[in-house]
Amino acid sequence: MSAAPLLVALVQVTVAVVLAPLVIGVTRQTRARLEGRVGPGVLQPARDLRKLIGKTPLRAAGTSPMTVVAPVVLLTSSLLLAALVPLVAALPLALVPGDLFVVVSVLLVGTVAIALLGLDGGSAFGGMGSSRHMTIAALVEPTVLVAVYALSIPVGSSALPLIVAARRDHPASIASPAGVLAVVALAIVVLAETGRLPIDNPSTHLELTMIHEAMVLETSGRDLAWVDLASWLRLSVLLGLVGNLLLPWGVAGSAAPGPVLLGALALAGKLALLAVLLATVEVAMAKLRLFRVPELLAGSFVLAFLAVTASYLVA
């Protein structure tokens, strides 16, 4: 019994690693098509990744071991996230609880790793990006906590697998005021956490406006491959979580091959849907002035807080 959830976690990680470049590919391709461009195809991020993995990283003179370690730490945190968050199956791991506090901490480990990576290069852009990134992270993490907390109240547990399973078994709770508020709040912070519009522009070439890209400007070769894969994983896992909270159907309830396969297919479908949706919304959206970002995130925190209040009123 104890081996099954571990095996499922392994399947989840594998599926997430395979799907993450495709999710990015789908968003870029959708954007290209909507803008009237041909686009490089959904496989391009995967090809880029393969190319980068084969390249020796070039590291700036005078960097500390942090430059070597940070990409690996970041990737590890993202892989751990993929194992903990209920993506394919909603089976709690006995070893590490898929607890919301653990998930937020793992997110934070990755955030700190990439911020240190940005600082370690010694360039002004890296420091600038890290400072902006930490500002946003400081605003995002509480909202994630509060939003998931609101979702946990009706279930009586803070374990994400249990929350998703409960929503799957009682679909009425999805449309509850608390549930909707919490998921909207979560969706906004997912955009902030993963550096999407309107908070950060993933496709800009203007160094001074960058947040995420500024931190990885000095990173190259294999290091960049790990950082990219880790960021893509983060986006895919968090999108997958939002997807499973909104549409919990298809999430496997057991470790049997049949439901797990179904769960994987359902995840791919939900991610494809959300990726297309994300890209479509982004096309029509401009980037907020940096000083307006806290206002947006404060708004999402208020939503999450309202969700908590509503949960108590209903429960």
């Binding site: 954007r31 909507l34 803008e35 009237g36 461009r37 002004a124 852009f125 420091g127 600038m128 902006r132 519009l197 309107p198 522009n201 496709s203 800009t204 070439h205 203007l206 160094e207 001074l208 406006t209 096309v283 029509a284 959206m285 401009a286 980037k287 907020l288 002035r289 940096l290 000083f291 307006r292």
Partner: protein, 522 residues
Amino acid sequence: MSAARPTSPGGPLPAPPGSSSRTVTRDGLGEEVGGLLGDGNRLALVGGHDDGPTGFRVVYAFAHPGTDRRTELTVAVPRDEAWVPSLSTVSFPAGRFERAIRDGFGIEPRDHVRPRRLMRHAHWPTGWYPMRRDAAADPAFGPDESGFAFVPVEGQGVYEIPVGPVHAGMIEPGHFRFSVVGETIVRMKARLWFVHRGLERHLQGRTPAQALPLTERISGDTPVGHALTFAMAVEDALGLPVGEEDRLVRALLLELERLHCHVADLGAMANDVGLGILQTHALRLRERLLRSNADVTGHRLLRGGIVVGGARLRALPDLDLIRGVAAEVADLVRIALGTSVLVDRFTGTAVLRREAAAEMGALGYVARASGLDVDARRDHPFVDLGATFHVCTADDGDVMARFRVRAEEVQVAAALVADLVARLGGHLGTGRAASGPAPAAGGPPEPTGAPVAAGLALVEAWRGTACHRVELDDAGRLTRAAIVDPSFFTWPALPVALADTIVPDFPLANKSFNQSYAGNDL
């Protein structure tokens, strides 16, 4: 303008009434210039000249916007005592011209308030002044010994962000040093002058016809503006008349250039706030204009349409296409201004106050967006544009004002194109080139004699008022061509506008100015 200028034989381009040229002493210069500026004249150009053994000559050219009257003051500067009294306390642009002349000719501006090098490249050997007649064409470049003088800002939490000169995108080289507290810019210093090509020297010794293709390459996006200014300066010097039809063709080319440049920049400004879809459409519209341009002059950027003494098209532009593009641009602008985030990003960003713009001598849409009513198409006209034309201005001086002014100028330019095509009635211009040898392919320019004729022209290129002043010898070859791109005046206004702007808004502010690096550094 010069004493040797022949009278125009019934030419439709009479010198503006009251234009004058006189010689002043170094001691009397300050007073004369103070009087001219006080009368509402604008300093259009200051050019150094090396007359060989007789010494240097500095020409100060002024233009009066109300009357189109030009005034030239000439100061003789002996070789062994090469200095001029600095006007930097009287006029900010004069101070910059003086620094450029010091770097080019070694004429020292005495008592200059900011005597730092301007265009002088850090690797040029000491004592080498490229504009002097005896300057070696290919000196041995030394190491960079000058460093980069900028005011360090100190205090709690102040840090510096150096950007460039090599950028992540396809942009010209410029180094920007930001002193920043948190995200707010305390001070920004721009270091340009990385693209010196020695253009003014290249022009010397060539006939105007040979020089014209070079002037089309002064700034890659302004071939019509600069070629036309150059041609008109030569015509002014030689007294060449240009017929009504050719002047209409010239005005048409100028507006076509304005159209495609503004369309591209409107899209680029939207892209800088993340609205890539608007840029995609702006680029699509620009491509339609460029293809139409290729039919009009045979070149997508409209090279080849202007000749000295005339202009010639291959075909008139398709008015349906121009009107369609203008309507679509209006649509894009409406969508942009309907996007609240874009409006929020544009409004109040990088404000250039009217007084600052006036003091700096800013030109073009930057000045007009700050409430300065300057436009050479009205102030120094070479053709009557009629009622279709009006000068577009705004008062706020922020990115939004520059966006709106340029959006409006697109509509005015499109209407002007339609009007000019109708007035041309199917004519394509006479294309009568000035007499002289045909353009030679390369070859070293020949030595020239003493200048016998001089001419000056002001043209509203798409970025602002371009000014050229040429001198020709009796064989019709250029002895000197002094060129001023509007960017030379407007660049210094950018750091001023950036006070209290945040770092992530700099690319947007810079794009809203969009000054030329190459036109600035000849």
